[in-house]
Symmetry: C2
Subunit: 254 residues, 2 copies
């Protein structure tokens, strides 16, 4: 086996998205890279897995220390297929993104990018998700390069605690304006539901989901605050959703 | 406004699943019930939301203190549409399920049933998800009745702490064998990826996801332990995924 680390890269915007192309170019120098990413945009798929129809893999390219596949499934499907079928082992590291759009605050709950990262962490693989605070397909990923490389270097050299992965969000500003990297916690916030109500040519109603992000906390130690103040935010993330703080109160009732 | 509470019921197995029909029958006596549930099974959709195609609602029935709709979206979509379009206000309570299959341990991460519950909690609505530990469409929901009613009574009379919802799992045994209701935390466990590799008539490979649940912890205060020992497990759940325990260690590095 090569001493180079084996690295899986995936995303939720699809294998052709500029964000994953940027991430691939930043990470290839670090090791042997395998890309398994959705064949089309999968934003908002969260941690969905595909059980009702079969999955397919398409081999796109094979170069020295580099292989690329697309898959008709979700980001979580991509990770599972990569581990079991493509690599036939767990990679040493998993990096996901760079997402077109923030995954700070409550966005993590809806994020396919971060679902892939959680899949990695669940399998014991040190895993990091990167997101740029711009939904534009033409977003400028240039300023993210040095921060992504710095975090990748840090994680490859020191690993991550068992069961912990990282949610990294990058402000959409020029590199001179970025204030540095800061460790934070997930900000309190929510998407308030909203819909465009329309009528089809047959007179039947249909609805387009839209939504308004509502911040419910703005503490200085949160990712949302950091992003708004031009810091690259790093939140350590776990998959235990137990509300330990409510345990005592509820113990009297159950 | 009637003094009866306004209650939203949803699920992820679809509006016709026996589990939601059982839940509706248990809960109707408690208030004015509105059902907005997926028009087909949506297991494994997790917290997916539909942004790439429009949503539709179908009005199924309208009786005294009871309305029922189906929706072509995910469980999270159903909740958002129910709040904004169907009810035009937040309900007083949200109950989801009864899911055909356990949502104990790591299953919560993949669960549409629990995503609906988290949507409720995010909107400040006291919300509970119920799941039976049997994937069978012919599962016997009878034994769950008294436990569901007891928990619903408890939550309607006392509410839930802000930002906390409940993940309730019910063992699939006869009512005499159920040991009672117990408050627990989420067990450590993971689904190990596995696939059936097949070939279609054109010689192209495809893969069916299967998987093996691997328990990585078996403490007596966890939901998985409770379920295996015939207790109804109640886990308080939050949507802050910050790994606070890793903060100190990582602060030296970021």
């Amino acid at each position: 086996m090569s001493k180079k680390p084996l690295i899986l890269i995936t995303n939720d915007d699809g294998v052709k998205a500029p964000g994953i192309r940027a991430l691939i170019s930043y990470i290839r120098p670090f090791g042997t890279v395998v890309v398994v990413a959705p064949d089309r945009p999968q934003s908002g798929t969260a941690h969905a897995v595909t059980i009702a129809h079969p999955l397919r893999l398409e081999h796109i390219s094979n170069e020295t220390d580099y292989e690329e596949y697309s898959c008709n499934g979700t980001p979580a499907d991509c990770v599972k297929l990569a581990f079991k079928i493509v690599m036939r082992r767990r990679p040493d590291f998993l990096f996901s993104g760079i997402n077109h759009g923030t995954n700070a605050s409550i966005n993590i709950v809806y994020s396919g990018t971060m679902a892939a990262v959680l899949e990695g962490a669940l399998a014991g693989v040190p895993s990091v998700g990167f997101s740029l605070n711009s939904y534009s397909l033409n977003a400028d990923f240039g300023p993210s390069e040095q921060f992504v490389k710095s975090i990748v270097t840090n994680v490859i050299s020191e690993g991550l605690p068992q069961g912990v992965c990282l949610n990294v969000n990058i402000p959409d500003v020029s590199v001179e304006k970025i204030m540095g990297i800061t460790l934070c916690r997930q900000a309190a916030g929510t998407w308030q539901e909203d819909f465009d109500e329309r009528e089809d040519p047959n007179g039947r109603k249909y609805y387009w989901m839209k939504g308004v992000y509502v911040q419910t906390g703005n503490a200085k130690d949160t990712d949302q605050w950091a992003l708004e103040h031009n810091f690259v935010s790093v939140v350590p993330v776990q998959f235990d959703l137990t509300a330990n703080g409510a345990m005592e109160l509820l113990r009297k009732r159950f």
